[in-house]
Symmetry: C2
Subunit: 414 residues, 2 copies
C-alpha cells in the first residue's frame, strides 16, 4: 500500500482528554479516532488490525468446534425481563421505539442465544453445541479515561457452549482456556489465567490478564504453584493460600473472561433436553468473551516505547515499512525513488504486506519519525548511502537490530 | 461440512407473522431466525451468505479506490443536531445514557464521516477520497411484513466520496453505478438503474431495482431508450417522456441507492479544502448504499420455486449438496455410506464447498426435500442404483438437469 493512496496522516496534536497511552498512540498514528467519550471510529489502519485479531480469534474458535453466527443488537425488553437483568444489569442501554416497544442494546447475548437454541436443542443428540459471534456490544459506562480499553461501544467475540452435564462443561471450559492462551500468544501477549469473581455473570469464572504498566486490575501470583487470583476475591495476604509460599502482587489489563453459567440461563428460558433414558434435564451452559477492540488497546499498552507502537508480527497492519530517503529535487533523489519503487514492486509481487511511504512533500526525518510511531515490525530504508553499496537497510522495530542487505538478495529477507 | 456437525435443522412450522417469501424460506431452511418484528439473528448458513455478499461488495468497492473503515453506531446528539436531522429524520432511534448524554443509533453515517474527514482533508492534494464501511444500521420503522427486506436493524455497506468539484463527483458517481452493476451480477441479479427522488438525502439520486414478484416499488421502463424512472417522481403516463415510445410499468425490489450530496453536509460541518490557487472551497460529496442483509432477502425473492431457494453460484452458502441415500440398516446401505464418505473426502480435498447430509436418522425422502429447500447449486446423489454403474447423479438445482457421472470421473465435474 502506498501512503499517498491511503487514508494516512499522523497527528501531533490530539485532544487532551485522551490519557490512556494506547488511545494516545493509536490516535496519533491514525488507527482510531474518538467520536465521543468511550466511542471510537476505526480508520483503515485500525480496521486492518481489528480484522487480524478477529481472524485469529475466529480460527481458534473454529478449532474447538465453534460455529459462527451473528445475533441482533436490538434486544426486546421481554428477553431481558425474563432473567431479571432488565433491572439488575447496571450498564444496560435502554431505548424506546416511537411505536411503543422497549429495547435493550446488547451488552452480552445470553438473553438472545438461550431462547434461540430452543429451536435446535431437543435431545442429547443435539449436544454439545458451540456457537460464537463477533459483533458490537454496548454498555452505559461512566465517562472513563481508558480510551478503547473500556468503551460504551466495543467489538467483542462471545462464545456460548451447551452441554448435557457439568462434567462436559468442565472439559470444554478447560479446552477454551487453552484456545484463549493460543489467541493471546498469536497476538504477541502473555496472559495469566486468574481466578475471578465473575460479577453479574456467575461465581465460577476466570479472567485473562496481561501485565501492563497502566493495568487496571490487581491480582496475586504465586510463582511456586502457579496460583493467580484477583485481589477482589482474596484476602490481603503475603502468602499463597494454596501452597504457603510468598506471593507477588501484579498489575494487569484484562483481555478475556470465561464463565461456567451452568443452568442459570437454561432455567430462566426453560432450555431443556431429553437424555438417553428419556428424562428431561436442563442444558448446562458456559460463556466465553474476548474484547476485540479492547485487545487492540492492550496490545499497544504492552508493546510501545518512547517513539511509538511496536506491533507484534501477527497483528501488525502491515509487515514492512518501506522508505526511500528522497525528496525529489536532486538527480540522486530520482535514482533513490526509482530503486525504492522497484523494491516495492518486488515485495508486493511476493505477496508481502508493505506500507510504502512514497510521500514526496515530507522530509526524510518526518518519515522516520512516522515509521517509529506506526511501529510496523520491519523497516526497509533505501538511501544514497545504501545505494552506493547496491543495498538497503533492514531494521527490526522491536530490537533496533540493523542488517545491511544487498538489493539482489531481497528475496532472502522473507 | 457435515450436517451432523453443523447447526442445521430445517423447520416445517414457523410463525404465521412471517409473510414475505424470502423470510419464510430463509427461516424454514435455517438461515435466519426472527428475534422480534424487523430484527433477525443470522444462523451459520445465513452468515455464510452474508459474508459472501460482503466480500463481493468489498472487492468491487476496493476496485474503485474505496478504503474500508468502521464507524461507531452510537452517535452523539450534537452531530445530528448540526444537520437538523435529530428532529427531521423520522426513523431515528434515540436513547439517553444514565449519565445524561443523548445518542442516536446510526441510520446512515453522513453526520459521522463528514466531521471525521476534517482531520484529513485540507488541500486539493487530499482529494478525491473514497471511504466505505460495512456495519449495522438502525431505523425505527413501523411494524412491517417485509421480513429481512426492511428491518429495524440491518447490515449495510455505505460508501462516501469526497471531491474538488461537481465534475469529479459526476465522474465517480458513474463509476459507482458500474461497480454496483458488477455487484448485482455477481449476486446473480439483474438490476435496473432507476431515477429516484432520494427522500431525505438529496434530489439527485438513482436506485437499483431487481424485478421480483413481490416487489414493493413501481417504476416505468422504456425498452426503446432505456429510461427507468420511479413512479413516485413521474406523472402517470403511457409514453416515455424522453423518446415518446410506449413504456412498461414494472415491480421491483430496491437493492441499492446512490446520491449526489454535493455540499449539503460539507456546508453543515464546514468541510472545506484549499484549491491549487489557494482558495477555500466546500468539498463535494456523494454517498452510495447497499443493504447487505436486504440483498440476502432479494436474492431469494428473485430465485425460488415451490420447493425452496435456488442460490446463484457466488452467494450460495455451499456449492454442492452431497447425499448418500442410506439409512444404515442393510449391508448395501453401509456400502453407500462408505462411497459417499469417500466422495466427500475427495471433494473437500479439492477445496470445494460441500454440504454433506450425513444424518443417519433422517429418511432419504426428507433429505431430498431439505436439499431442494436449501437450494445449493449442485446436488450429488449416491444410491444403490448409481453404485451399480459405479457412478453418481449430479443435478443442477436451477435447471433440474441431471447428469450421470462415473465415480472415477469426479474430478471432471468441477
Amino acid at each position: 500500500m502506498k501512503a499517498t493512496q491511503f487514508y494516512f496522516k499522523t497527528r501531533k496534536e490530539i485532544s487532551k482528554d485522551e490519557v490512556a497511552i494506547s488511545a494516545v498512540l493509536l490516535t496519533k498514528a491514525n488507527f482510531i479516532e474518538k467520536l465521543t467519550s468511550g466511542v471510537y471510529n476505526f480508520l483503515p489502519l485500525g480496521l486492518r488490525v481489528i480484522k487480524k485479531i478477529e481472524q485469529i480469534v475466529r480460527e481458534e474458535m473454529e478449532a474447538i468446534g465453534g460455529q459462527e453466527i451473528l445475533m441482533a443488537l436490538l434486544n426486546p425488553r421481554s428477553n431481558w425481563e425474563q432473567t431479571g437483568r432488565w433491572d439488575s444489569f447496571k450498564a444496560l442501554f435502554k431505548l424506546r421505539s416511537k411505536y411503543g416497544s422497549w429495547f435493550a442494546l446488547a451488552p452480552t447475548h445470553e438473553e438472545i442465544i438461550t431462547p434461540m437454541v430452543k429451536n435446535y436443542i431437543y435431545s442429547y443428540k443435539d449436544l454439545p453445541l458451540y456457537l460464537f459471534h463477533i459483533s458490537d456490544k454496548f454498555r452505559d459506562e461512566p465517562r472513563s479515561k481508558s480510551g478503547i480499553l473500556r468503551g460504551k461501544e466495543f467489538i467483542m467475540k462471545d462464545l456460548y457452549s451447551f452441554h448435557q452435564d457439568e462434567k462436559d462443561l468442565e472439559n470444554y471450559y478447560e479446552k477454551v482456556k487453552k484456545a484463549y492462551q493460543k489467541i493471546y500468544k498469536r497476538c504477541g501477549l502473555k496472559a495469566y489465567v486468574v481466578e475471578a469473581s465473575g460479577g453479574t455473570f456467575s461465581r465460577f469464572s476466570h479472567e485473562f490478564q496481561v501485565l501492563t504498566p497502566a493495568g487496571e486490575d490487581i491480582f496475586y501470583h504465586c510463582s511456586h504453584c502457579g496460583m493467580n487470583r484477583n485481589k477482589e476475591i482474596m484476602e490481603n495476604t503475603k502468602k499463597c493460600p494454596e501452597c504457603g509460599h510468598k506471593i507477588e502482587e501484579l498489575k494487569g489489563s484484562e483481555v478475556g473472561n470465561i464463565f461456567k453459567l451452568k443452568d442459570k440461563y437454561s432455567q430462566a428460558f426453560d432450555l431443556n433436553y431429553r437424555d438417553e433414558k428419556g428424562e428431561i434435564k436442563p442444558v448446562m451452559m458456559g460463556c466465553y468473551g474476548i474484547g476485540i477492540s479492547r485487545l487492540l488497546g492492550v496490545i499497544v499498552e504492552a508493546n510501545y516505547d518512547a517513539k511509538g507502537i511496536i506491533w507484534p508480527k501477527e497483528t501488525a497492519p502491515f509487515q514492512y515499512h518501506l522508505i526511500g530517503l528522497f525528496k525529489g529535487i536532486k538527480k540522486e533523489d530520482k535514482e533513490i525513488k526509482k530503486q525504492t519503487d522497484l523494491v516495492y514492486k518486488q515485495l508486493i509481487k511476493k505477496g508481502l504486506e508493505v506500507f510504502y511511504d512514497d510521500r514526496e512533500s515530507v522530509s526524510s526525518g518526518e518519515k522516520l519519525v512516522d515509521a517509529d510511531l506506526l511501529g510496523l515490525p520491519q523497516r526497509i530504508i533505501i538511501s544514497e548511502k545504501t545505494l552506493k553499496n547496491r543495498s538497503f537497510e533492514l531494521k527490526e522495530r522491536k530490537s533496533n537490530r540493523i542488517k545491511i542487505v544487498k538489493l539482489k538478495d531481497i528475496s532472502k529477507i522473507i
